[in-house]
């Protein structure tokens, strides 16, 4: 007695159905991944553009011409000259240098300058005089 469908046919069909389902699933997953990829790519491009913009702004704000002008205007700081250069820390003469802890700053000699102790504040002290324009 022959069967209506042979075991072989059933198996082949089952495999075909499973493969078809898997193919459909894979193609859907690929499309989703493509979508995610495209989103990521456009995000990366946006980020890169933002980075380029920030880099340009950073370079502009830190240009030596600008910094020099601002330093002179708000802090009254002049450009250093060779006569201020010292070859050796020992040559630096400061009022009442009192060594506090030689090992405190990465092996560098830390010195306290009398009353003017550096504070632990993160905020730089404001200049006491108004900038002279």
């Amino acid at each position: 007695m022959k069967r209506f469908l042979s075991v072989q046919s059933i198996l082949v069909m089952a495999v075909a159905i499973v493969l078809g389902a898997a193919l459909l699933y894979t193609s859907q997953a690929t499309q989703d991944a493509d979508g995610v990829l495209a989103d990521l790519k456009s995000n990366i491009e946006r980020e890169n553009e933002a980075i380029a913009l920030l880099e340009a702004e950073w370079a502009y704000l830190n240009s030596p011409q600008r910094l020099e002008k601002l330093a002179m205007e708000y802090y009254g700081v002049k450009t250093p000259s060779a006569s201020q250069m010292m070859g050796d820390m020992e040559e630096v003469s400061l009022p009442f240098p009192v060594p506090i802890d030689p090992q405190s700053v990465g092996g560098m000699q830390a010195v306290s300058y009398g009353e003017v102790q550096p504070t632990a504040s993160d905020v730089a002290p404001l200049p006491k005089v108004r900038p002279v324009r």
């Binding site: 495209a38 030596p64 450009t79």
Partner: protein, 568 residues
Amino acid sequence: MSFSNTVQRRHSIVLAGDQSSNFSMAHGRLFVVKMFFVVAFILIVARAGDVVVLDGGRPNVSVSPASNAEHIPVARGKILDRNGVLLATTLKTASLYVDPFYVSDAMATAKQLAAIFPKRSYGSLLKDLQGKGRFVWVARGITPEQQKAVLMIGEPGLQFENEYQRFYPQGNLAPHLLGYTNIDDQGIAGIEKSFEGVLTEGEDLTLTIDSRLQHILRREIIAAADRFDAVGGSGVILNAKTGEVLAGVSYPDFKPDEAGNAKNREKFNALTLGTYEFGSVFKIFSTAAFLEHYDVAMSTTFDASEPLKHGRFTIRDYHAENRNLTIPEVFMHSSNIGSALMGQAVGTERLKASYKDLGLLDALDMEVPELGKPQVPSRWGDLTTLTTSYGHGVAVTPLHVALGVATVVNGGMVVKPQLVKGDAEVERSVISVFSPKTSERMRSLMRLVVTDGTGRNADVPGYQVGGKTGTAEKPGKNKKGYDRKRLISSFAGAFPMDDPEYVVFVAIDEPKGQKESYGYATAGWVAAPAFKAVVSSMASVLGIAPRDVPEDQEISHGLKKFVSLKNG
């Protein structure tokens, strides 16, 4: 089961037994196939509905990124200094155009646009807005604030397109070397032009320039030019051993972002394109040639007691001593007569060969396209040999002089200019023009100029600077003779003189004497202090510690016994 019954009923008359069962099985299989197609069709319809109705708004993502990538041009590469400081970059900016077809209220829109873009007038905007075309640029490379303001107008005819725009964050720091681009992002001068290929491919370029040194050099050249009411100036800082250009300035200058508005005078590259007769700084080269060919004692004297006559031409000394001068005296007092006699002793052919070896007679081999060819007399006679010994008759660019000085002081090895920094360390040159002995003697002579000679205003204590002043008269405006009022004052120097690391050259174009310089506009008063200021600031930026050398250990000390210091 009614279906199978029908089948059986329909065929029961004809068939029976094995055949009947075979037949019904065939029908059964056909039914399965039929059902398969029905289900497949339903699936296709369902999927079609899904694609059209549910998924229809989404673009076909698997195709679009790839096809877009081909259309978006790569952003032009950045230009960085040797420490990675941004000198030129490309930013995406919006450009505004108008499609007059969609403009509803041209007059009101033009009025609002004129308020946003001060450079455009109401009339010209109105003309653009009511035109017949479909595309007119209104403003290119606008700021985000302007874009927002335009969007607030709400005019459908105003549309944006993203464009790349070149941006130079450092302004007029080094415009002549960097160059600039036109509105279509093509390099049309400087590095931007000569490296158009790699830059358009999006590759970044790193220059040998140090923006800090560049700023210092520019600041001091402008300060000197202002102080002496000069028409301009130029200068360069070189690595004495490798020829790397650490800073190069041509002044007056311009902002590359606004190159279109710059005057030709400002755009002119006086550093690598302009050629000038620099006068006495050339004595560095003629004296070196003399010492190379004549291994004589420094006490050798030259008769500078009276002006030197050659045919109808007379060579005089500016700082006339009117006596016999030793080699150190000739150099430190900058005696034209003495140098001319040295040139005469070297001879036309050998002097010319030395200049040629130093690269002074050929255009520079360098990365920028603006390169000046030295002006050399077509007929080089004996008189030319005399005059070129003190720097007249041959016109070269400022960079030529600096490179020549680097070669003289670094032990005699030829250096080539380098503006683009490669990945590898720059290899030292192995082509020797002068012997180490000549180089050392030249260094001691150059140090003597600063300790006791015309360049005393250039001394920076602790840094052993040395150099040579040069005050040259510019050729007369009618191309005949020289104009005594129009000078080029320059100082070519290096430091530290015992083993020079840096060569600095400063030239000021047409300085006028000031009260503070007692009316002098000569190099010792104009260029030497500028050189001093440059070296002084360089030391702190580069972190070079001063080194006190006792006077008797100075490189120039041995020469002092050949110098009569009666004039101080």
